[in-house]
Assembly symmetry: C2
Homo-oligomer: 434 residues x 2
């Protein structure tokens, strides 16, 4: 341990946006970090694919290597920070770093969603810690808040806006009535969306983060679980204006709830009450609303991405795990996380209020057929609006808000209605929050 008191030696896997931010923060905050730690941090080795493209002036180029073994296999390295992303080869690298007895910090939500429990088991076995604040919500200390809330409380539900790209697109559509494609194009131009935005707008990224959050909040073993995931690409400007008319905004929410013994996990576009804190989260911001049984509601928002915010979380974790190593208490935070298998609520058992938009030909009896099909399945209507009058073959929008209903009944009713001759397009359904 004594060596540790004189210096904390760090190995970095990956040096892209976040990695670069970490390198810069370690440099700019060196003094305060050393004061807090009682010892300096030294970045000894950085794994990159191609050293020639790394231009960070804060970085001593002699640290650069293309050989992972020179990071993971170096016995003098105390903490390994993984900011490469992806599941392969990171699963192998992080696993080996743990097996080598190193403290680990990772920002990799995809890796944790697929292999988080496996890696935590491994960390448990080798008496080390794996910290992952940066995997969810960038610089927002969501993981800490969830973990700390659990010291004296239990969480009954959480819902969050955890994908900045989708939230930026939805915010632009809502504010300016932009179509999805135009908003996506703008997000790409501003660097808020990647060339291939599928993981963001398709909900996959939010689903990864939800799995990580739920693992921690409910002590659930969820590696590679598949959950209800719908993206925002089918949301049209008209849905935003109807939502507005009913007092809602459309947000991509990641929702986790305890349902007795079962766990309900879902990611989809959601109608959120205008007065709810989540409704006020615009642009690339992220946010999470936690419901603690004793704490009550707790809401947190901030920058969910970006080099520096995310690097702040990485460095915060770095300090925690380094202090644990210095104190000889490595592995303690791992042991505090107890994971058990939890059954997931089947999608058909979800209960929610629903928004439907039917594009129908305005013929006599159409409304009766729609309401009939819903009524037959016990889906009761709270509000119905028909937008204008269509002539024979020009369809009109009929929008319906339901009372609390069961997903299975809703799907069955929509199936029937969707097959009818009076509908011009497949029905549009959006779940309502709360």
């Amino acid at each position: 341990m004594t060596r540790l008191l004189t210096m904390i030696r760090i190995g970095l896997l990956g040096c892209g946006t976040v990695g670069g931010g970490v390198v810069q923060l370690l440099r700019t905050n060196a003094a305060s970090l050393e004061a807090r730690m009682g010892a300096p941090f030294e970045l000894v080795r950085v794994l990159v694919l191609d050293p020639s493209v790394v231009t960070l002036k804060e970085l001593d180029r002699s640290c650069l290597t293309t050989d992972a073994e020179r990071v993971i296999g170096d016995p003098s390295i105390d903490v390994v920070i993984e900011v490469m992303g992806g599941v392969d080869p990171t699963r192998d690298y992080v696993g080996r770093a743990i097996a080598a007895g190193k403290q680990v910090v990772t920002a990799n939500k995809a890796l944790l969603a697929r292999h988080g429990a496996e890696l935590l088991d491994r960390a448990h076995e080798h008496g080390v810690d794996m910290a992952f604040e940066a995997a969810v919500g960038g610089g927002i200390p969501i993981i800490r808040v969830v973990r700390d809330a659990l010291a004296g409380d239990t969480i009954s539900s959480l819902s969050g806006i955890v994908n900045g790209t989708s939230n930026y697109i939805l915010s632009r559509m809502q504010a300016d009535g932009m179509p999805f494609e135009a908003a996506l194009k703008e997000a790409k131009e501003k660097g808020y969306a990647e060339a291939n935005p599928t993981l963001d707008v398709g909900g996959g990224d939010a689903a990864h983060k939800l799995v990580v959050l739920a693992m921690l909040a409910f002590g659930a073993r969820l590696d590679g679980v598949s959950i209800l995931t719908e993206g925002i690409d089918a949301v049209e400007p008209v849905d935003h204006s109807f939502a507005d008319r009913f007092g809602f905004v459309v947000k991509l929410l990641a929702i986790a709830k305890e349902h007795g013994k079962k766990l309900e996990l879902r990611v989809h576009p959601t109608l959120v009450d205008k007065d709810a804190p989540l409704a006020g989260v615009h642009g690339v911001l992220n946010a999470i609303a936690i419901e603690g049984r004793a704490l009550g509601p707790c809401f947190l928002s901030g920058r969910g991405a970006g080099a520096h915010p995310t690097a702040v979380s990485v460095v915060g974790d770095l300090v925690d795990v380094a202090i644990a190593k210095r104190n000889g208490t490595a592995g303690q935070r791992t042991r505090a996380i107890r994971l058990a298998k939890r059954e997931l609520l089947p999608a058909e058992d979800i209960e929610s209020r629903y928004y439907f938009r039917f594009s129908v030909f305005d013929r006599p009896g159409v409304l009766a057929k729609i309401t009939g099909a819903l009524g037959q399945r016990g889906v009761s209507i709270e509000q119905m609006v028909q937008q204008g009058r269509g002539s024979g073959d020009v369809p009109v929008d009929v929008v319906i808000l339901t009372h609390e209903s069961k997903e299975a009944d809703v799907q069955a009713a929509l199936d029937v209605i969707g097959k009818s001759d009076f509908v011009a397009k497949p029905p549009r359904m959006i779940r309502v929050h709360g």
Copy 2:
């Protein structure tokens, strides 16, 4: 240390609302707390003024004592939790508990505002920790977020709604145009305001919390410092409606900013932009907006008071300091807090936008005199509204929003205008946020 591994012994000073909540949480979460801790918590002694009034069924009455020494002086007690409130005798009790080598948890903002640095010095000297999450924002982990943000970042400013009573009153005035007295009466009926609400509506409670936050956020030694503090009692319904008309809401904000080497600390009613997250915080909720240099904006809200939310923070702190004691690392979190004297920005040097409401007799040349007096002091006007027309001796409201101005100039101009024969009442001034 070995005894600690078998049990954590707790002494409780005070058993009112929060104390009762702590007793209940320790009971209801005993299993998960023991799992997290690796050892059970045992509440061994509880100091109260009058045992006969304590009716908590979760409490073994044999724990009750009216003799502080039986808590502080008991060498078998590991952690002392102070939830009595007030500065005397708590300053003495907490000081003695620290000197006796006990880990301390306190929810006492008044004590910390006056003697926080002194007690932290003492904790440093005796190698123990003093945790105080519950002193600010009830169950919202504001202290943790501020502390953790500092691991890899520095805070440039923070502003918060930290008094639920005032926020409830302002929310009711805003929503229903209620006068202050009526809203205060309602708050008392609902148990949101104490019989003597001076500390809440006068801003004193918020000032205490601001000092505690600033001490931590800026590493400043602020014991007993006096800061600009204005309450909400002078805010009238008409101010809410003018604020609304200009796109603001009125909130009691606690504001702390770094101003070069100096620190700007103030508590007062503030016009907050309707779109700002703080504007959406209604009723008894608390919230804080932090601006980190790397993190950017981070916003946190939740229940700022109440037995259970506050007790959740106390128990979270309890777990932290108990783990430190078990690990033999007590005093480490104290050593991580470094406090230095910081000069405060004099009130007259504050720069802000301002809202003025003048109740004037509608005579020719009055507006010229007002704008002249402001212009002479270099206070430039952004918007001006005259509400209707008054006849000779019925005054009318003239409301002005200024550009960024200096407090000293504003005060001087208001002084001149206030003395003029055309004003019916002293001018009303509210600072504008951001």
